[in-house]
Symmetry: C2
Subunit: 321 residues, 2 copies
Amino acid sequence: MNKKITINDIATLANVAKSTVSRYLNGGSVSVHTRAKIDDIVAKYNYTPNTFAQSLKQQTNHTIGVIVPRLDSIAQSDMLRGLDELNKDDTFLIINVYQDSARELAAIEKLHSQNVSGLIILTANLTDDIRSILEASELPTVIQGQDEPGFNRIIMNDINAGNVVGDYLKTLAPRNVLLLNVDDRLDRAVGHDRFVGIKSALSDIPHKEIITDFNMTDAKEAAKLAMANETFDLVIGATDRIVVGAMQAAFSLKQQPRYIGFGQSFFSETVSPNLTSFEFSYFETGKALYRLFLKVRDNTPAKAQRIVIDGHLVIRDSTIL
Amino acid sequence: MNKKITINDIATLANVAKSTVSRYLNGGSVSVHTRAKIDDIVAKYNYTPNTFAQSLKQQTNHTIGVIVPRLDSIAQSDMLRGLDELNKDDTFLIINVYQDSARELAAIEKLHSQNVSGLIILTANLTDDIRSILEASELPTVIQGQDEPGFNRIIMNDINAGNVVGDYLKTLAPRNVLLLNVDDRLDRAVGHDRFVGIKSALSDIPHKEIITDFNMTDAKEAAKLAMANETFDLVIGATDRIVVGAMQAAFSLKQQPRYIGFGQSFFSETVSPNLTSFEFSYFETGKALYRLFLKVRDNTPAKAQRIVIDGHLVIRDSTIL
DNA sequence: TTGTACGCGTTATCAC
DNA sequence: GTGATAACGCGTACAA
């Protein structure tokens, strides 16, 4: 490694002009003779270009800012894995904003000032501030998770998910169903879309809906409260995390309802019984995100792109025991 | 945002030389009058410096490369959170190497060529290649998890962890114990250190040790095999993940042993029963890593630093029901 | 206090 | 095919 060698040093060592070296490096025409000389030197001194200088000259670097609401989630890390999978030339600058919109705003500004060449925002939950700063910037931007008109976006087909789960739950012939949902103003895709089909399937089945949040502990408390007064034989949670909270509650109350969850296929197989869950491939979603980003960056399509990802129901022990 | 404004533009607008603007920006002495003028312009055009040019000039950026073996783990994301917590001026370039040492090597080289100003390697499992490239480079480097002489490192006190668990398990008076361990050549801290105290506590208690790996599915199969032939009333796994695999195995065999796990406090509360586990604060470890990194970068201590992190046993349902 | 001139490493333009 | 030379945006001696 030693000290970094520059294009100038190479030029001196090879007795040529630095512009010749530059051409050599960028695939321009160079005589066989000088090519050989430079070949040697580059190999010997292990030359790597100075990326700052390149970026300064080219007015762009190949860095994409990735904003993620949390890192301790399989959904998120699977999407990141999907991004990685297809990536060749870009560097991802991953920033965890801890589900805090103030931090998210700050992160976007910081990424701006670092001249990233684009933005990918996972599980976006845009505030007005963020929306306007994104609209003001000309950075190629792709968001995931929320159906924001005017933005290039990839969303999950939560409507369909709810329909599929709705159809399935009817075959279970439950007598009393507990729905653990989240506030749809916080997350419309989850809180609203995901439950349309379910509620319609429950039209003549007794059920109760409780609004909680994405936190497992809160979900556990909410479920415990509901279950203490009433017995349910089927629990449907807006996310697997919420369902796991409910399982804890049921466990402590010595109840054994059936369960259906959504999304993070991770929990599904770590809990006992394994969880029936409607799953999305976040890995594929990550790949799709990167593809869409490239399209947006390289072709700058006139109108905002919108891609919908489908999922499927995986039936496990929690509904068949 | 519009187009980026430069120090030159400001100079022209304010009718001063760009060096004056530069001084203004870097806290040099500027007359009240010009200061006011520049103030206005900066505010109006929302100037932010071009980081490439700065880095090119200063020959260093404030970017720290962080190499993480996997992202879908609470331990890792907690450490990242710890790093974030103390950070003010630095940017972390997080690279997931998917527990693949070839990828890890490539990542280190890439970070090098991007002129990062330092390296933090989480849960390091250094191969010879990696060790030598790190030693050859002069980058300030801090590693975590493995007690590599010659490297600045933060390690977990696994010896103590094993002793504490050893003492505790004696109070449980088990009749037959299953140890699910990993190959100590793969991870000495876990496979060896963590089990010293346990094995000594088991000297006159019947027990069986099985070597599996960090993967939950493999652990499940290994446990199932062992449990099919023999009944255990206590299972100790090298990690929580492994223990969860064993819980699945036991569940399918309708057995209910007690369980003790290590480390990732995440699982502990998502499984039923909640898991007794020896826990380390990875969040604090992350903070300590950053502190150590700063020390190494700014003071370049002559000898490699070594910091040991302690943990504690958290007793939950899995050993008291 | 302010301005001039140059260098950081790279790429691009244009003569030769 | 090659080599000066000028830029990219910033910081900083040095001179005024």
